[in-house]
Symmetry: C2
Amino acid sequence: MSTYKLSYFKGKALAEPIRFMLSYMEKDFEDHRFEREDWPKLKPSMPFGKVPVLEVDGYKQFHQSGAICRYLAKQCGLAGSDPEEDLKIDMAYDELNDFRAAIASYHYDANEESKNSKWEPLNTTTIPYYMERFENLGKSNKGYLANAKLSWVDIYFVALLDYLNFMAKQDLVGDDKPALRKLVNEVHAIPAIKQWVEKSPQSDW
Amino acid sequence: MSTYKLSYFKGKALAEPIRFMLSYMEKDFEDHRFEREDWPKLKPSMPFGKVPVLEVDGYKQFHQSGAICRYLAKQCGLAGSDPEEDLKIDMAYDELNDFRAAIASYHYDANEESKNSKWEPLNTTTIPYYMERFENLGKSNKGYLANAKLSWVDIYFVALLDYLNFMAKQDLVGDDKPALRKLVNEVHAIPAIKQWVEKSPQSDW
């Protein structure tokens, strides 16, 4: 049986999708959350100087949250059942990642003038544009983001949502997004994920 | 036999990896390059308002260059041979994508002050940091980026390189990167890719 140690900052963000996946798989894992002041000391031990990193069996270092979730999905029936289904999951994931990057480009902008100028187009154009399309994916896929069935991209989306909401300073999945709202509720109602959310440390992001 | 139509601007950038993959597979494809002034008219017909989009058999619209290349790779022996090999390819791809995003964050920055302030850390820290790690992947994988054998991420990297060099204003794979230099030469020497590069329209990016 494999052992898992997940290293990340004291938040959800890009680690939470992996935590959701491991919880869904009912795997025990060490949830290693370090202080920000300890990061410079840890950074050189990470393959590309970033986290999350999932250490498996004490020596394999897996990085990149999307790649890790896709890999775990193959072990628990949350991947596609053929290459075209996998493509549809991957397209939804890559769009979600582009959306996250657009919000992060605002949130993490160190230049105040530049940051301020990004808010209006982000809030009035980019966010409604992407969210409408994700809602449409849900509507045309029986409530899921791809292939009309639960897959790892649905878990990823729901796990990432608090972080996205935090950066975007709004509830992205409100009453005007019924398909996505239902998806969020459904994923949170999966017993192993419900249990994880209840026991996991609280954080805004 | 499937038909392929690839829509993109008049450049290489994110479309070129798909063009390399289709060429490697010896597939005929319509290389639809449109004028920038025609983009507003075309944008609403693209699933997430972006390109590249690969239209297959006249009705399926596939988007996201990484997802498309991963899908095509499964048809031509350039995917991994098991889930862990696929993970290693995906990790290298996601790091390459983060690297591209970091360079693009400089290149496309609309705020001059913000843009200028990004150059120094990009040029002296981010670029050397990532490129050293990609070179190390090459050295520890017999000249490839993953699994000690040619895969789609190698094709992707080589196809994307002109665009990265253009945005980064330098030759990223110089003499100090012998493993990557050799990989670039090897991919360009694949007959179907060599033929594509020779016949394809010239562009700086």
